[in-house]
């Protein structure tokens, strides 16, 4: 009895001490946050970098001859009200918990050296005025814009680029991926004077891809200074100086964040930014539920609401607000390399090894029916891996379609020619033709359930296994799946095959070769493609790879969504070209977007209309300017 008494007492005492310590550390934490002082003040003198000769002769390139993005009618002013589902756990953009929805808004205000014109896709200057390619096909040189300023007023110089490596390689930022990327991939950053730098990557690349890789953004060296182990904690809620048009001006944890347009933004007058970034302030309100957010939107407390999903566009976005044109429905097609999506077979699986079975399955999946019935025919069937890559796309390669006869042929060939009492195919050994399909998004269940029901007709049993996203991700990345339902993020200039199909990643965890494709022929092609810098030859190789992948049949492609759909109040105005070819939403107030503006008068009128009621026409815009396959 006594022992228990002592143990319990000790536990209680220890607990008490621990809680005191924790509360103290929290306090000291806050204390420190307040004391995060710039290592250098914005006004302290900038150290002169000794001039160094550039080792080769360069051809400096710039671009001033590009169409203006903004509309001359645009007016400045007003507030844009947006929502986010969660409050960010930190304002840092690297390190633990930094991968949040809100991060993109911070990064949106972190300018790069160069950027792409939203409509023409040509390279246009940003923090760099000129750029030049090194002969090694690994290095790009930049001349920095001497006007560039941090939000605290300090000039952006080569120091802030040199600092990138120091920062990104520091283990104090607690971001192994960045540590690795800035060591393995970005191998060097050098300065030749305060406003001339070069950045070098590990592998040789074609020019377009090289500059795409290397056009990094600076990190304020004076602000962070030497990093220490407390960095992650100290800078959790620090508002770091940036170079973009907006900066966080106010926030309340768990409630909202407000970003305000800078009064004297250094780049405001540059051609690329003319008539852009029109609203004065952008507020992101935390609303934890989409349905509730929609109620806010209908009340006018949000200006914009994404209605991409068919459920929204066709279903919920209805009613008097729409009928009278108070709210505009805007369907905007884009052209963007779509991330690959679909059912990924694990080729290490005993049955899925068999190409006939894979093809049988591919013909048993009624993707088109699903897109028609479940997705209301909004989505497009994804035909191949290269969709959206324009010059690297090969329209004659088409996805396999639902065809019970073909499926029957392939399955019979693979030995699954009988059916059991449940109607599922079996082979001679009595093995069922049954696979687990795991997926992580609950909302995808209706889609998969449809596929499952249709597959039954072919005698194929799909067992759906819904996991929470984290578990699902783990399962997939350890290649523990049989078939998984995945959609990758898109982007890039050319299709990247290696990470998806090269044998060096097969049957190993934590990579994108989810199918464990291990094909020597494909390996050879992929390696050649990687070494090829000639555009034409590269395209040929790309096509060969594409055909080989079709033969292997590791993926049943699902769909692509080359558009975004928005609902917004009618007082918002857009230039003729409402958004970028590759935009992800209509209302991206920061880089690349921000061409919209608020019609203050109309807003007042809308308020009145809402109260008094107005018989307007419904406003539905379907903008197919950038729809893939459309001739301009």
């Amino acid at each position: 009895m006594k022992k228990i008494y002592i143990i319990s007492l000790t536990t209680m005492v220890l607990g008490a001490i621990l809680s005191v310590l924790v509360s103290m550390s929290i306090q000291s934490n806050e204390q420190k946050n307040k004391n995060v002082a710039a290592i250098l003040t914005p006004d302290s003198p900038i150290e002169e970098i000794p001039k160094k000769e550039i080792p080769e002769k360069l051809e400096w390139i710039t671009n001033t001859d590009f169409p203006e993005i903004g509309s001359s009618e645009a007016k400045k002013g007003g507030l844009l009200q947006m929502f986010m589902l969660n409050f960010p756990q930190t304002f840092r953009v690297v390190g633990p918990n930094s991968n949040t929805q809100f991060r993109s808004y911070i990064l949106g205000n972190k300018m790069s050296l160069v950027t792409y014109h939203p409509y023409t896709k040509e390279i246009i200057p940003q923090l760099a005025t000129h750029w030049a390619f090194g002969a090694d096909q690994k290095t790009v040189y930049f001349k920095l814009d001497k006007d560039a300023r941090w939000s605290d007023g300090r000039a952006v110089t080569a120091h802030d680029y040199l600092y990138i490596l120091k920062f990104m390689r520091s283990k104090h930022i607690n971001a192994p991926w960045y540590n690795n990327y800035y060591t393995e991939q970005i191998t060097d950053i050098s300065a030749y004077d305060n406003y001339t730098i070069s950045i070098t990557t590990k592998d040789r690349k074609p020019k377009d891809e090289l500059i795409y890789t290397l056009a990094a953004g600076p990190i304020p060296a004076h602000y962070y200074g030497e990093l220490d182990e407390n960095w992650e904690r100290d800078y959790n809620w620090a508002i770091a100086p940036n170079t973009g048009p907006y900066q966080i001006s106010e926030y309340k944890k768990g409630k909202y964040v407000i970003l305000e347009r800078k009064k004297n933004w250094w780049a405001a007058k540059k051609k690329a930014n003319k008539n852009l970034y029109n609203v004065d302030r952008v507020i992101y309100k935390v609303i934890r539920n989409e349905a509730i957010a929609y109620v806010y939107f209908k009340k006018g407390e949000l200006d914009y609401f994404p209605i991409v999903k068919p459920k929204w566009w066709h279903g919920k976005a209805k009613g008097p607000l729409y009928d009278n044109g108070l709210v505009v429905k805007h369907w905007f097609y884009i052209t963007v390399p779509e991330g690959v999506g679909g059912l990924f077979f694990n080729l290490d699986h005993a049955l899925l090894k068999d190409k006939d079975i894979r093809q049988g399955i591919a013909h048993s999946i009624n993707m088109d029916g699903m897109i028609a019935d479940v997705l209301k025919n909004d989505y497009l069937r994804m035909q191949r891996f290269t969709e959206g890559f324009e010059k690297y796309d090969f329209p004659d390669i088409e996805a396999r379609v639902f065809d019970l006869t073909k499926a029957d042929e392939f399955f019979n060939k693979a030995g699954f020619d009988k059916r059991n009492e449940d109607g599922v195919r079996i082979n001679k050994e009595g093995v069922k033709l049954s696979f687990k399909v795991n997926f992580g998004a609950e909302s995808h269940l209706p889609r998969l359930a449809y596929l499952r029901e249709e597959a039954k007709k072919a005698g194929l049993e799909l067992v759906l296994e819904q996991l929470d996203p984290v578990t699902n991700y783990r399962k997939i990345s350890t290649k523990d799946h049989e078939i998984c339902w995945v959609k990758f993020g898109g982007g890039g200039l050319k299709p990247r095959y290696r990470q998806f199909f090269h044998s060096s990643f097969a049957s190993k965890p934590d990579n994108n070769n989810l199918c464990n494709v291990n094909d020597p022929e494909l390996d050879k092609l992929i390696e050649a493609y990687r070494e090829e810098f000639d555009e034409k030859k590269s395209q040929d190789l790309c096509e060969k790879i594409q055909r080989r992948i079709y033969e292997i049949c590791p993926i049943v492609y699902s769909y692509s969504v080359p558009y975004h759909r928005s609902a917004y109040w009618k007082y918002w105005r857009f230039p003729k070209i409402a958004a970028a070819k590759s935009s992800t939403e209509l209302f991206d107030p920061f880089l690349g977007g921000g061409a919209f503006w608020l019609d203050q008068e109309e807003k007042e009128k809308t308020k009145l209309d809402k109260v008094l009621g107005v018989d307007g026409e419904p406003k539905v815009i379907i903008d197919k300017m950038f729809k893939p396959g459309q001739k301009k």
């Binding site: 009895m1 228990i4 008494y5 319990s8």
Partner: protein, 330 residues
């Protein structure tokens, strides 16, 4: 009636710890039974009287090892019971049985008479088949004067007296040698009480049972017992054969007890000794003679010195023990 000693209890103590605090530490003790020595011969009845809280019931249960005694020894047929394991004790359970005060409490209301009486047979594997056992049960019922059709009935279908008969049937099912009757007739109506007392006497004769008859009703105890012990606050204060204890009580407590019984005889003149106050708490028993706080004859000596249980001998030479400094002097 043989005079062979059946069970002998030596210096039996039962102290209940009173636990307090979240870790249930012992904060005090109840001196429920505090050094009792008694013995019972085969086929004999020992009466045990005392007021509630004097420890008589605890004593009865402790000698059966239903409550673990704190110290002391219980020798049954020359075997020591106090240090036996649960499993070994089980064999002795056959010989030592108990009848409780409240028959509705001591019978599981969810069991039929058959189930109730089947239990001892099952535990001790008496009878080979169910039918065997059923036959035994029917004969048991007959023995205690219940009709054979009671077998499928539930306790609540019986009157108090009949329930007590079931309790007795259960106790004699294993043909024990000793039965502790713990206030076995106290809760019964007078007209039924006499029936049960007769039954107990019959069974004693027939089966050669020994009883330890615990009760607070002296008239009943006198009627059924051969010897009587009087308990007060966990100790025996007087002990002798039944007639003598009523005729010539030596201890003032016994005397008070006898005089306090209302007798159903309006013509009898009695000199009453009415005791002051209540029985003191057994958690903190008085020093010296435990009775001194209520004793009309208490002297200073009684407050400090604890009297020994001494033999004062009856006129016929039989044993008459009493624990009083002034035994028989009033």
């Amino acid at each position: 009636m043989s005079s062979e000693e059946l069970i002998s209890i030596k210096d039996l103590k039962v102290h209940f710890p009173i636990k307090g605090g979240i870790f249930l530490r012992e904060v005090a003790k109840v001196f429920a039974v505090d050094g009792v020595s008694l013995s019972v011969n085969k086929g004999e009845t020992l009466g045990l009287v005392g007021e509630s809280g004097c420890g008589k019931s605890t004593f009865g249960k402790a000698l059966l090892q239903l409550i673990k005694p704190t110290s002391g020894s219980v020798t049954f047929n020359n075997d020591e019971l106090t240090d036996l394991s649960k499993a070994k004790l089980r064999q002795y359970r056959k010989d030592l049985q108990i009848i409780f005060q409240d028959p509705s409490e001591s019978l599981n209301s969810r069991h039929t008479v058959e189930q109730i009486l089947m239990e001892p047979l099952e535990i001790h594997k008496i009878g080979d088949s169910r039918n065997d056992r059923k036959a035994i049960i029917v004969s048991l019922l007959q023995k205690v004067g219940l009709p054979a059709d009671s077998i499928n009935k539930y306790p609540h279908e019986f009157s108090g007296g009949q329930k007590q008969r079931i309790g007795i049937a259960r106790a004699i099912a294993l043909e024990p040698q000793l039965i502790v009757c713990d206030e076995a007739v106290s809760a019964l109506d007078v007209s039924v009480q006499s029936q049960i007392l007769n039954l107990l006497l019959d069974l004693q004769e027939e089966m050669g049972l020994a009883y330890i008859f615990i009760a607070h009703d002296l008239a009943v105890v006198r009627h059924i017992s051969d010897k009587v012990a009087v308990m007060y606050l966990g100790k025996i204060v007087e002990f002798t054969d039944a007639d003598n204890i009523y005729a010539k009580p030596l201890h003032p407590y016994t005397k008070a007890l006898i005089s306090a019984i209302p007798e159903p005889d309006p013509f009898k003149e009695k000199d009453r000794v009415i005791l002051k106050g209540d029985v003191p708490s057994p958690i903190d028993p008085p020093s010296g003679c435990r009775f001194h706080t209520r004793c009309p004859y208490a002297q200073d000596k009684c407050k400090t010195d604890e009297p020994e249980l001494k033999d004062y001998k009856n006129e016929d030479g039989s044993e008459h023990m009493a624990a009083c400094h002034f035994a028989g002097e009033f």
